[in-house]
């Protein structure tokens, strides 16, 4: 798209920002998806920087992807952004789009949290590439993140397929230079090639030569999807995003993503095949490298997927036998490559005994009030994926069950039907999880005549990923007050009999409301309101402090999990339990936990 008055400048961008820029330069019309570390900011940057692109946070990843698929069928380039755990939710939608006719390019930007640096999972999005036969691209730095985003749309349209752009926590959070044209003007791309687009069922019927499959009406719908991918597999040997750097004959490395740079940093003489398109594989280039070197390695973050695919071609490579994967290794570093492949590399180890930092909630978080009440009354409960899941950690012990996003209501229902409702196993869920998929659990338990209690934590945003809006927020990209959904009204409409709304900081009211709900003989919902302290920067109350003369060091207050409460060694070596004035917001929760009246406002 070079125009005459191009002004190239170098801009520092992180990977997320560069992907957003790529979307802009690719002429994307619609961006949808669901927040998820590490790729949330792709949407934030797109929305802030490029107002020409329609942006939405959808209710969940599946909806987000379906929106993008619809927009793509309309002819417009569309992207859906999510993390790999989110793509599990959207997998059915992806299966439907795979192998179907693509009008406007359709690209999924999916974040893999390699190294579990900031997240909770060790997934690898490339499995979806294998499962659905979908191309996967992976950038090594911000420049490539931008360039491959554009390439992804071209591939999507040329080979009629959804394309996955795999980005990792390292790519997302690394800032490096990107060359952009300051004078670039946005041009929306639209192409309507196919009048219909159907899932593969129809194509496979014809491939199997089912009866009647030669009917012209059916033939019109046919899309030879295996042929498209075969063509791509052959063409990609000539793509300049797949680079063969032939050097020394001793060591050859096939690599992609940031591990490419780790390899270059450490193995100066190695011959390297650097893949921008990691699926399908450029077989010719791989064979050429294999011929050239004595030993061939594959260095890839995440699971051993390229390794297996290369071995499937009948080419032997060394991968996880030398570099064992999770849990031995969280992610590649230059150090690991050096240790294994450079003779006499010095050994360096981190000092022993440095204490670990467990996650803690922000001081004043409403979740802490709920955890405290559940623990105090020994109420058994399931936690959802929310900031409140910190209550599952060993120091808090507030929850007995925790699984995926939106699950807690159905988990509790399952427990309760299995145990004949002998005890009320409670579900705690955030507003984000409730709208994402949790609402289905609630509908499900009502029409299946179950009985259970749900605590919905309404903090007006998706706090865990930094405070994006949800259906019940009072802000958002496309927000209008008249469209805000009320959690209480929706619960009522679904058929919940007993619904109360309480302020989290009114400890006694909240305690009563939860106990009433748990003991009620009907379905109940307790909506606990308090905007996320961190997102909304709530005004602080006066800090609390601990009277050291009264404190017995029983540590009950520490177990509530507030960041502001610390166990500190004084200068004389004596340990004291203290409240950090800078962090305390004065919510008063800790004072309800102290039996010795040592905590005062």
């Amino acid at each position: 798209m070079k125009k005459e008055n191009t002004i190239s400048t170098m801009k520092m961008m992180n990977g997320n920002e560069a992907v957003a820029r790529g979307a802009f330069e690719a002429g994307v019309k619609v961006a949808s998806g669901f927040p998820g570390t590490p790729s949330t900011e792709v949407m934030d940057y797109t929305q802030q920087r490029y107002p020409d692109i329609y942006c939405e946070w959808s209710t969940n990843e599946k909806v987000g992807l379906e929106v993008a698929i619809g927009a793509s069928f309309a002819g417009y380039r569309s992207l859906a952004v999510m993390k790999t755990v989110g793509l599990h939710v959207a997998a059915d939608a992806l299966g439907g789009a795979a192998g179907s006719q693509i009008n406007g390019g359709l690209v999924l930007v999916v974040g893999d949290d390699v190294g579990r640096i900031a997240g909770d999972d060790y997934n690898d999005v490339r499995h979806y590439g294998n499962m659905f036969n979908i191309p996967v691209l992976e950038p090594s730095d911000s420049q490539e993140a931008k360039d491959l985003m554009i390439k992804a749309f071209e591939i999507s349209e040329e080979y009629s397929t959804p394309v996955i752009l795999k980005i990792t926590s390292v790519i997302c959070k690394t800032t490096s230079g990107v060359i952009i044209d300051e004078n670039y003007t946005y041009e929306v791309k639209c192409r309507v090639k196919y009048p219909v687009s159907f899932s593969k069922v129809i194509m496979t019927t014809m491939m199997m030569n089912a009866k009647g499959s030669k009917h012209p009406k059916l033939v019109k719908c046919f899309n030879d999807f295996p042929a498209h991918i075969k063509r791509l597999a052959s063409d990609c040997n000539d793509f300049d995003i797949n680079k063969l750097e032939l050097k020394g004959k001793k060591i050859g490395v096939i690599t992609a993503g940031t591990p490419y740079f780790y390899t270059k940093e450490v193995l100066h003489d190695a011959s390297i095949l650097k893949l921008g398109l990691v699926m399908p594989l450029p077989e010719k280039l791989i064979r050429e490298l294999a011929q050239h070197v004595e030993k061939l390695y594959v260095i890839e973050d995440g699971h051993d997927i390229m390794e297996k695919n290369i071995k499937d071609l009948g080419i032997s490579v060394i991968g996880k036998e030398l570099f064992p994967k999770f849990p031995e290794m969280m992610r590649f570093t230059p150090d690991i490559i050096e240790e294994k492949l450079v003779p006499d590399a010095p050994k360096r180890a981190v000092m022993e005994g440095i204490p670990f930092r467990l996650p803690v909630s922000c001081a004043g978080c409403s979740h802490l009030f709920i955890s405290q009440i559940l623990r105090k009354h020994k109420i058994k409960a399931a936690s959802d994926v929310t900031c409140g899941l910190i209550g599952c950690f060993p120091h808090m012990e507030a929850y007995q069950l925790q699984k995926c996003m939106g699950s807690s209501i159905a988990l509790a229902h399952g427990f309760n039907v299995a145990t004949n409702h002998k005890e009320n196993f409670v579900a705690m869920i955030g507003d984000g999880g409730f709208w994402a998929t949790g609402i289905n659990g609630l509908m499900n338990l009502i029409f299946n005549d179950s009985r259970s209690t749900t605590i919905i934590v309404d903090n007006s945003c998706l706090a865990m990923t930094g405070g994006q809006h949800v259906a019940s927020s009072e802000f958002g990209f496309n927000y209008k007050p008249e469209n805000k959904l009320e959690i209480a009204k929706v619960c009522e409409a679904i058929g919940v009999k007993d619904i109360v709304t309480v302020d989290a900081y009114e400890f006694e009211n909240l305690e009563k409301a939860i106990l009433n709900a748990v003991n009620a003989n009907t379905n109940s919902v307790v909506i606990v309101q308090k905007p996320c302290v961190t997102k909304f920067k709530l005004p602080k109350g006066d800090a609390y402090s601990i009277d050291q003369d009264l404190c017995t060091q029983c540590r009950k207050c520490i177990n509530i999990g507030c960041l502001a409460i610390e166990s500190k060694k004084a200068k004389d070596g004596k340990v004291e339990i203290v409240i950090n004035e800078d962090l305390c917001v004065g919510c008063g929760l800790c004072s309800t936990a102290c039996k010795f009246d040592a905590i005062k406002s």
Partner: protein
């Protein structure tokens, strides 16, 4: 000899302005025409987790976003437990800047782990590397909140050690922080110069 580039780790806990620090420094090195790669690693948890920034500038394209252990020229740490995590990464002639501030770790608070018996400050001092310790309590000022602005204090210290222009650095600070914080930040910067000159003398 002309500076061909350095590897820097900036470390601390959430809320200490580590990302601002690397942002300010990046503007300085960009003006000098260096190539940069800055990789931020933000730890588990909502608050109070460890944060580290790998900052590399070079007159050649920077390859790995992570600095290999043993290749760190400068460590600037705003929390001393975090300082300890990087001591093994230093070059033999690497330089350490460490605040004595400590945010007790949740695992020690909740007795899942015992704290280290030794003084952390002493452990840092005895690493055998050139080390500068800054005690926020000894350097409290009514002009600015050192608990929030240790990043700027250390920026000034670092600039003084490297012989960089303070005027240029202050200009970058002015351009980068919100209007209402400029004055406090400049006070913090000036304090940093004073601390640096006293320690370097």
């Amino acid at each position: 000899m002309q500076d061909t580039g350095k590897n820097i780790i900036i470390a601390g806990v959430g809320g200490q302005g580590i990302l601002l620090f690397s942002n300010l420094l990046s503007k300085y090195y960009m003006k000098l025409g260096y190539e940069l790669k800055i990789s931020d690693v933000i730890g588990l948890g909502q608050r109070g987790g460890g944060v580290e920034s790998h900052f590399r500038y070079s007159n050649k394209p920077v390859l790995s976003p992570f600095i290999k252990a043993g290749d760190v020229d400068y460590l600037l740490s705003f929390e001393q437990t975090e300082t300890l995590r990087y001591l093994h990464c230093m070059k033999d002639d690497g330089v350490i800047f460490s605040s004595t501030f400590e945010l007790s770790t949740s695992s020690v608070n909740t007795r899942l782990e015992k704290d280290m018996p030794e003084s952390k400050t002493e452990l840092i001092k005895s690493s055998g590397k050139k080390t500068f310790i800054i005690d926020p309590d000894e350097n409290k000022s009514s002009d600015f909140d050192i608990s929030k602005m240790m990043n700027i204090v250390m920026l000034a210290f670092y600039a003084e050690l490297r012989g960089y222009s303070h005027d240029e650095m202050i200009q970058i600070v002015k351009e980068s922080v919100p209007e209402k914080f400029i004055e406090g930040n400049i006070k913090a910067y000036e304090k940093g110069i004073v601390i640096a000159r006293a320690q370097l003398a």
